[in-house]
Symmetry: C2
């Protein structure tokens, strides 16, 4: 079934001491900018696979992913040499290789802290499960929310944070509490052994070395959009960048 078995299994993980003028072999052997794009490629590959494609060229895949094809090829070359010249990439095999590179061949347990508007939306969302992320629990400090079923789990009290993490081998914590309590929650997650944190609260979290924090800040995204929108307007009309057009 898996045509992957028929692909030459040259497990040539790039391991040469040094390339030359390359980004100096970032941790894990893959540049950070590439890592950030791999999930996009993966999604494009799944879409192509559903559409029945067996192979795909770098041009096609790049178009699906919204990037330059040279960039795509260079990104994939960091995982190994999995393409066939003159043909392209085997979709199924590339899905496997990208998944493996990202660490998606194993299941990851996730705990969500904060069962407010956002936490509930996250827990209700089915899209995480599909890619190897399993929600182990959702916690809140509000007693009136405890016991309430949300998606695949029911809300538990935040005092159970440490026990939930250790008994479920949780590696990823999601913070969806107000900013005021986010640092405390973060500290507890870290103390309990969580080393990967996704933060929705609008503040800069302090964590020790070895802990990886990514933030999702919708307010910041809107402000960046506003900047460019302002720039476009200033360009189009006079360049009076101030005190004009108060809505």
């Amino acid at each position: 079934m898996t045509s992957a078995a028929e692909i030459p299994d040259t497990e040539t993980v790039p391991e040469e001491p040094s390339g030359g003028g390359e980004p100096a072999r970032v941790a894990g052997g893959i540049p950070e900018a590439t890592v950030a794009r791999l999930p996009v490629y993966l999604r494009a590959l799944y879409t192509l696979a559903e559409r029945g494609a067996n192979t795909v060229s770098s041009d096609e895949l790049a178009a699906c992913a919204g990037v330059n094809s040279a960039k795509l090829r260079k990104d994939l070359s960091h995982l190994g040499s999995y393409g066939i010249r003159g043909v392209g990439y085997d979709v199924e095999y590339l899905v496997y290789q990208v998944s493996r590179a990202l660490g998606l061949t194993q299941n990851w347990s996730v705990v969500i802290v904060g069962a407010g508007n956002l936490g509930r939306a996250l827990a209700n969302y089915g899209g995480f499960l599909t890619r190897g992320f399993q929600i182990s629990a959702i916690l809140d400090s509000d007693p009136s929310l405890v016991g309430r079923p949300i998606g695949p789990v029911t809300v538990r009290h935040v005092t159970e944070l440490e026990s939930v993490i250790t008994s479920n081998s949780v590696a990823i914590g999601v913070i969806a509490t107000p900013a005021g309590t986010a640092q405390v929650v973060c500290d507890r997650l870290v103390a309990a052994g969580v080393t990967s944190i996704l933060n929705f609260a609008p503040l800069v979290l302090n964590v020790p070395d070895g802990v990886d924090v990514r933030k999702v800040d919708l307010s910041i995204e809107l402000q960046i959009l506003a900047f460019h929108a302002q720039r476009r307007f200033a360009e189009r009309f006079g360049q009076e960048s101030d005190s004009a057009a108060e809505a």
Copy 2:
């Protein structure tokens, strides 16, 4: 009251033809990486202001924002020369200047398309209003949701999209629909004149030149976290990066 009035109003917006080895004067005169950090600085400044600080040094502000102080100073230098050597920056004045640079001195009307889990969480969120973003409407195609009050507005049918945009001068659209309908929604937003889009649907949107799309993809964030987590585990134990520790 505003000590800003007592600050020398040297409106020296950097306008020299070319710096030298500098990032070649990105559109708007401010490098993209800097724009992405300005909102973080702004938030740190508000926090400091609430704490009663009148002035702040680049070291302090950088610490609050979680960045290098040299980077902070270079970022701020793109807005103008608003610091006082030997003292630091006037907090209130810097808030004003950063806000102005970001285009936050005017109000921005936002429309949310999709009143599902995520759209409702967004509309309920008060944090947008506080920084000059006003939710004009939330739209959905599901008739059973129309009329339902969410936060400051009530759900309206998506057929009203065009009229809502034109009558409210909406410049920013938020897409919170399933991936299957996101491109269609996007096309309609663009056709109606929206040039800034915040996309939550997991797909790459196609837009014409002149339209600015930013995406928020939680699934991608988790996958990036998984990559680094895997790397840490592989480092700690043997470097068998495959078929190990199935949860």
